[in-house]
Symmetry: C2
Subunit: 205 residues, 2 copies
């Protein structure tokens, strides 16, 4: 089926959303078999049965498709982390859950599928937009927990909030970034507990 | 010059030390031009003017030569860190120096020469012995500073010492391991200050 004669972007209807989803789903499947680096947009066009030009109407590049997949993957990890945090009542326990869920969910999603790991690796190296958004969201989540803990009296209030957020983010970062996580398997079991304990000691009023 | 008919290991004299040094110096030079991965023991033999068999009398493999270079490099970083720590009087300041010197010295040594970085990377991935020794030495240094700070009353004494040592090591680790450091350039400027401040807050009595 050749759809390269479809209306241009300005006249797109709601069905475009479905086409985008279809391209992303097919690309994810194809990448996970053949790898992100080795796949071209022509390969994807062939598999899906679209023309290359038609795919380019929806995504300006292979990276744009990779970014959609990567964004979805990071969105899942963020949802896992938020769910784990929300199960706890008190800010200190929320912070513990944050560390534990971040490591567990990242390990599961990045390494259950080596080819998806490859997309995540490209995303980190080239600093794709979804990774920057994800970093900001995790920092926001840390900030929320800290604010709650400062209000409840569980955490100290002397250190500027921005500084505390960034320092805790830096402590967590090796377990959020898949390239670093790969170098940290040996510590993935003990690190969340030990690091969150250290961070909680640093927050005591 | 072919030295393959030289006496065996059991009868080695003091001059063997010089031969080893000569091989290591030539290998370091060669690796830094052509890369560790691409160089073979035959290449080194040709450059130095020894037979391959003669080199194998001193080093059982290319990795063994790489380990000597790597060990020397890590020894330099450790010496830099110790010198910086010893400049400070009080344990809190020693801990700050430890973080700062570790990042500065690692950045300088691993990245001043991309080909030496490659050896360091192989060492980390394959967990060569010098990297394990280095990890232990850094942990010992952290322990010394903590013990001094616990005695002087600068640091809390409730948390088991082993746990505190390991947690602080985990916080520092992303800036000690060259593969992780490569992913952390963006934070290399702010991280030592922010992380050591967080760690010091966690140690307050």
């Amino acid at each position: 089926m050749n759809k390269s004669d479809t209306p241009a972007a300005s006249t797109r209807g709601p069905a475009d959303h479905d086409v985008r989803d279809q391209i992303v789903a097919a690309a994810k499947e194809h990448f996970s078999h053949y790898g992100y680096e080795k796949t071209t947009v022509s390969d994807l066009a062939k598999v899906i049965g679209f023309s290359k030009a038609y795919i380019y109407k929806f995504f300006e590049s292979k990276q744009a498709i990779g970014e959609m997949i990567c964004g979805g993957c990071l969105g899942e990890i963020e949802a896992d982390i938020r769910a784990a945090v929300n199960e706890a009542d008190r800010p200190p326990e929320k912070l513990r859950r944050l560390f534990k869920a971040a490591v567990d969910s990242s390990l599961r999603l990045f390494f259950q599928d080596r080819k998806l790991y490859e997309i995540a690796a490209s995303a980190c190296i080239e600093r794709w937009r979804p990774t920057l958004v994800y970093e900001q969201r995790i920092q926001e989540l840390i900030r929320e927990i800290l604010q709650e803990g400062r209000q409840s009296g569980d955490f100290e209030r002397k250190t500027p909030l921005d500084e505390t957020v960034m320092a805790i983010y830096l402590v967590m970062r090796p377990f959020l970034n898949p390239l670093i996580l790969q170098q940290s398997f040996d510590y993935a079991e003990v690190a969340p507990g030990q690091l969150s304990s250290l961070v909680l000691r640093s927050l005591s009023p």
